[in-house]
Amino acid sequence: MRQTYGKTLPGMKLTDLSGKLIVVEGTDGAGRTTQINLLKAWLEERGHAVLDTGMTRSPLAGEGIRRAKEGNNLGRVTQSLFYATDFVDRLENEIVPALRAGFVVLTDRYIYSLMARAIVRGMDPAWIRSIYSMALVPDAVIYLRIGVDQLIPRVIFSRGFDYWESGMDVFPGQDMYENFRSYQTALLAEFERLSVEFRFETVDGSADVKTVFAELQKKILRIVESDSRQQYVFGRSEETATLQRKTQETWAAQLRELRSNDLRILPRTTPVSSGGNGHGMEEADRSA
């Protein structure tokens, strides 16, 4: 059974969420979106159903947040809670249903970015943790780590300095460059702390796209392979490859036998070994 960080939302069943929840975290410009696009195409090519989601994409609050950010009069507490609304709308209506349907969910940022931003804005860390205690514990958090100095060229060559990414609401003065440095440095420091607490798998985000992608592929394969069903279909490790070969041989033998009996019946595609999500835990404590 899947776990949350503490609280379970009313009506949210944690059993049978057999999909995989993979989080890609990192500061602005770390390359998350590029990598997620590559990963999605790659996973789909391998036959996985993929849902990708990210901040402010909820039908409920996405538009409201965008509009509120245009005005630059969005307060810090309000901002934190608006993002929490957006997150929970996606959690309940996108992420959980997709996991139940066996999807690989790739999420561009998760509660960690939201917590880091809130903490950098002076929110009480205990307060923000309490709010996000209803989040699902993901199967992996991949953190694309990149230093501020490596970040700056990327910002210059992409969209330039943004009001919120420069923390103009946090730091005094009008100097966007200086504020960008201070804000991103503070965020990185917070990410470092979170990476220990929430066991991030850190990847060097300053490397080129291909190298990062290869690294992510390796990590993600390990996760999607941990499910027996997918192990069978997409087996990669020595063990599963052997298993796969043996099964294929068995099938081939059966097929030959069937053919020799002149029965034109093909074997069903996947003789899946049941075993749920492999965690062996049944629904137990759901105190909410």
Binding site: K7, A61, L74, R76, T85, A288
Partner: protein, 251 residues
């Protein structure tokens, strides 16, 4: 949390027993603001809005700078809430969070600066409404209390206590039909809006009763004549205003 000045606000001692937060409040809580915050609470049909509007007139006539703030009125957030309600997109959790977002905006941009400036702020519904409704919808009462940890403790929180049937009688006479979330139809308690409203408000009433001792709500018997209730409200408000003569606006 830091609110941008040297003043810190945080969860109050009345919310949940976190030592650190309690200390903060004793140092910087609501009472350290020059302004006064009066809030009214109660189920729909308890007559609280009528009472608050009468109190408003009276405080104004005394020459105080007085500002009204209603539940769900943030210009930044209310369109999102409306969208969610209209399209029935809200779950217990998002219902709770979007209302907290609305409240946060009003606290940050209106209530807090007004209290610092010495105004009398009147709120029609406050955090207790959220606690009652969200818990009635199945949210954890601890989680919701922590969520609103940034709230300012009111000077007085009036609770207009009324039996369910009296309130429903008043509402049925005054309106035609109940709205989806207002009647708690999202909970699936009953398909009939009036019956659902009755069951949902019953739960809310229970939550209010629980909060009277928890938060020290000032109970007003809302079955009494309007004038009698108002006299009690003014009496209580007066004791707090007398101690804050300096916030009077001299014409």
């Amino acid at each position: 949390m830091n609110t941008g000045s040297n003043l810190r606000i945080g969860p109050f001692e009345i919310f949940y027993p976190v030592e650190e937060a309690a200390e903060r409040v004793r140092a910087n809580g609501g009472s350290s603001f020059p302004g006064k915050l009066f809030v009214v609470e109660g189920i729909d049909g308890s007559g609280k809005s009528t009472q608050l509007s009468l109190l408003h007139k009276w405080i104004e006539s005394k020459g105080y700078g007085v500002v009204f703030s209603t539940w769900n009125s943030s210009s930044l957030v209310k369109d999102t809430t409306k969208l969610g309600k209209k399209k029935k997109m809200l779950t217990a959790a998002t219902f709770s969070l979007i209302h907290a977002t609305d409240f946060a905006d009003r606290i940050e941009r209106s209530i807090l600066p007004l209290l610092k400036a010495g105004a009398v702020v009147l709120c029609d519904r406050y955090i207790y409404t959220a606690f009652a409704r969200d818990v009635a919808r199945g949210m954890s009462s601890k989680w919701v209390r922590e969520l609103y940890g940034f709230a300012v403790k009111p000077t007085v929180a009036f609770y207009f206590r009324v039996p369910l049937e009296t309130a429903i009688g008043r509402l049925v006479a005054a309106r035609d039909g109940f709205k989806f979330y207002e009647a708690g139809l999202d909970l699936g308690l009953s398909d009939d809006p009036t019956e659902s409203f009755r069951l949902f408000q019953g739960r809310i009433l229970q939550e209010y009763e629980r909060m009277i001792p928890e938060f020290g709500l000032t109970v007003i018997d809302a079955t009494l004549p309007v004038e009698v209730q108002q006299a009690q409200v003014r009496q209580i408000a007066k004791t707090h205003l007398d101690r804050a003569k300096e916030l009077r606006v001299r014409p």
